[in-house]
Symmetry: C2
Subunit: 197 residues, 2 copies
DNA sequence: ACCTGAACACCGTTCAAGT
DNA sequence: ACCTGAACACCGTTCAAGT
């Protein structure tokens, strides 16, 4: 009398979601198409119906990671403070998921994902009558710095979870270095704004 | 009568040099241990006598790429100008070799290679009586920004050498964006120095 | 529309054994 | 000291065929 389980088919989103899950559990090097297929109860070739290739799949995962970026509200923050806030938020998003900085970095470089912080920063610039081009430069500096910084941070995380790493001086003193660097960038931004005004 | 060619053995440096050559010719994804072995006329397993693993080999290649960093002379340049000069030099080094930014980025994150610009920047700071810690922050910002920027730049290079890329508006307007960003960083550095003095 | 089965052309790494 | 030969345990991707 039991209605036979219809063999549930997967959507594109199901696949990306499972990929993110595997990323957190096993890390980027072990996020393979074959592992992902197995986790979904499917043949590896089935994934190629949903995505043209692995890079496209990884781009979808990148988008998931960066999705929380859009519910930040900067209100009337001036450009330099907005840059700081966006950089900090981006770091938080990346730190939520294992190897996220490396993954997003490559999706971004390949142009498969839109640079985060850019739209919000352009918006903030316009509200305060600041040149678009300056906002573009700021976005580039912030995005690259944050990705590089967190990349480094996360590699160290997995390195000493692996037991390597001779010196591990308590937890990370990274937090302070990060905000200090973001302040430096904000200061530079302020000077540039003054020069143009 | 001919003296038989002694089967020339390879040094560690020979291997790294050939790897750099293959990197330029075929790019990072095609720089495999097997290809490298073939190019050297040797079995893949032979490489593991010279290097414990592929990452170590790639670190040696990274060092070659960054080697020209050390023949820059900053003389009496103040810290912000030194940062600009070092960033620009680092970009030049990276642009000399295909996919260099991606490669160096990962060697650096793994801690297998020493951060370029850092020693020279610390030196410049000391000569001018600037706090070490500020030089550290500056080094981090510059290194991460340059790597991220050039990574992006190089990915676009290989992307449109591959024929992809819908819009290719003449050559790259990257040069201008880069110097502008470095100036922004230098300005921030100057402000920070002022605050501490 | 969504997936299977089977194959193709590769990978990095290990290890006993040779010279 | 430096390398061979052979194997192990994998990869991403394609494609005809199934339902």
């Amino acid at each position: 009398m039991a209605i036979p389980e219809s063999p549930r088919r997967r959507s594109r989103d199901d696949v990306a979601e499972m990929a993110l899950h595997l990323l957190d559990e096993f890390g980027l090097p072990d996020l393979t198409m074959r592992r992902l297929a197995t986790a979904l109860g499917v043949q590896p070739s089935a994934l190629y119906w949903h995505f043209p290739n692995k890079q496209a799949l990884l781009a979808a995962v990148s988008e998931q990671i960066l999705a929380p970026m859009s519910d930040i509200h900067l209100d009337e923050l001036p450009l330099p403070r907005a840059a700081c806030a966006l950089g900090a938020r981006m770091r938080e998003c990346l730190l939520e998921h294992r190897d996220a900085a490396e993954l997003v970095s490559s999706s971004l470089a390949l142009g498969l994902v839109e640079p985060p912080v850019r739209p919000a920063l352009l918006d903030a610039a316009r509200r305060h009558g600041v040149n678009d081009q300056l906002a573009e430069v700021a976005a580039e500096v912030v995005v690259h710095f944050v990705l590089g910084f967190v990349f480094h941070e996360q590699q160290r995380l997995t390195a000493d979870s692996l037991g390597l790493l001779e010196r591990s001086p308590a937890a990370s003193t990274d937090e302070a270095g990060f905000t200090e660097a973001m302040t430096l960038i904000a200061d530079g931004l302020e000077v540039s704004m003054g020069r143009r005004a």
